[in-house]
Amino acid sequence: MKSDMGAIEPYEPKVVAFCCRYCAYTAADLTGSLRLEYAPNVRVVHVLCSGRIDAVFLLKAFEDGADAVYVAGCNLGDCHFQQGNLSAIRTVAYAKHLLAEIGLEPERLEFFHIAASEGPLFARRADEMTERARRLGPNPLRKTIKQRAGGKLARDPDAHPPLPEAKLGRLIRHAERVEELKT
């Protein structure tokens, strides 16, 4: 992507994943426990059921500069609330149509079924969506979002959040050293 200064800024997609607590969110946990690596571009939003998703949420994500958005819900027949995933499928289909109406690629939005036991699938879907966002290029709104906020902003879609300080890790390492000293 070209910035106003003419320099090429590296494009690192931002992907928002709305994950159902009973399946995909648990699968994300499992992915971590399995030490599987997946694209760090994915930002997970925890929802109590994919049925909670409203078309407005999905549009808002794009409005705020997301390059791709997906909703991950339970397999058919597995919804904790009977039909939440079915309603989410309909909402996503509707939102895809809303995006197409205003000239944004509907492929930027997707629905996936990810069961709680499918950690590897969660990682695969995260990679797949990030790859898709990379192929489709940046959300055309990115530039205007930055301009609107005068260059620096709380939600800069191109900025990467700083890594959390590994305080706990240091403490643990310190504790281990104490153990070593004891022996």
Binding site: I102, G103, L104, T144
Partner: protein, 226 residues
């Protein structure tokens, strides 16, 4: 309730072209019930228009608000301040609401144009989730008592008072095999009610002046006026 359809987004975009501050105004009345112009639909349309404007690098501020009823001045008054701040209002209410808001804003120091965001279609009822059908035409002289609770004006394609016509076949109307013949429905209902004799009653030519033919209608209740 009054049923409406959202206008195509291109049409709404064309009407707001060149305006930098636009208010999308929803209504919590009928159009909320038929999922056309309630709070959610307003939020979706506002978001869509914001994305579309930004993608084209057009500087446009789009805000939204939803009021109890757009067909009552008392509910419009609280948003007048917000309306004074914008260049244009896109109303997602029925035609009555759009006109009422336009009238309320006519008195503002700076005139603000009010445009419709939906096409008002009919007076109808919900058949199931997501399906609405026309049930009344507001003709001003109800005959439902004679026709077993099925309106020949709204349900018969020709609004016949003494039907059915020759176009009724197999219970369907000749205009479309999907459309029920209103008079077949009336016949079946009267039969079930044991009032089939109503079918042989000849309704005289009616005075349509109670309907649109009498010009714009008005209802005045003196006891309620202040």
């Amino acid at each position: 309730m009054i049923v409406g359809d959202l206008k195509p987004i291109e049409e709404i975009e064309a009407s707001i072209r060149g305006r930098s501050r636009v208010l999308i105004l929803g209504c919590r009345g009928c159009v909320t019930v038929c999922n056309t112009g309630g709070e959610k639909e307003v939020a979706v349309l506002a978001s869509q228009l914001r994305i579309a404007s930004q993608a084209r690098h057009e500087h446009r501020e789009i805000c939204d608000a939803t009021i109890e009823r757009q067909c009552d001045f008392e509910y419009i008054e609280p948003v007048l301040l917000q309306i004074e701040d914008v260049d244009m209002v896109v109303s997602l209410a029925c035609g009555a609401g759009v006109q009422q808001v336009a009238e309320a804003t006519a008195g503002l120091q700076r005139p603000v144009q009010v445009v419709p965001g939906i096409n008002t279609t009919f007076l109808g009822a919900a058949l199931e989730q997501g399906v609405w059908a026309e049930r009344c035409q507001g003709c001003g002289d109800c005959v439902l008592e004679i026709t077993g609770g099925i309106c020949p004006i709204a349900r018969c394609s020709k609004s016949l008072l003494n039907g059915p016509c020759g176009g009724s076949s197999g219970g369907k109307c000749e205009i479309d095999p999907e459309v029920d013949c209103g008079w077949q429905l009336i016949h079946d209902r009267l039969n079930a009610l044991g009032k089939l004799e109503n079918m042989s009653r000849v309704l005289p030519a009616r005075d349509w002046s109670t309907s649109r033919d009498g010009g714009p209608r008005k209802r005045v209740v003196e006891e309620l006026r202040t």
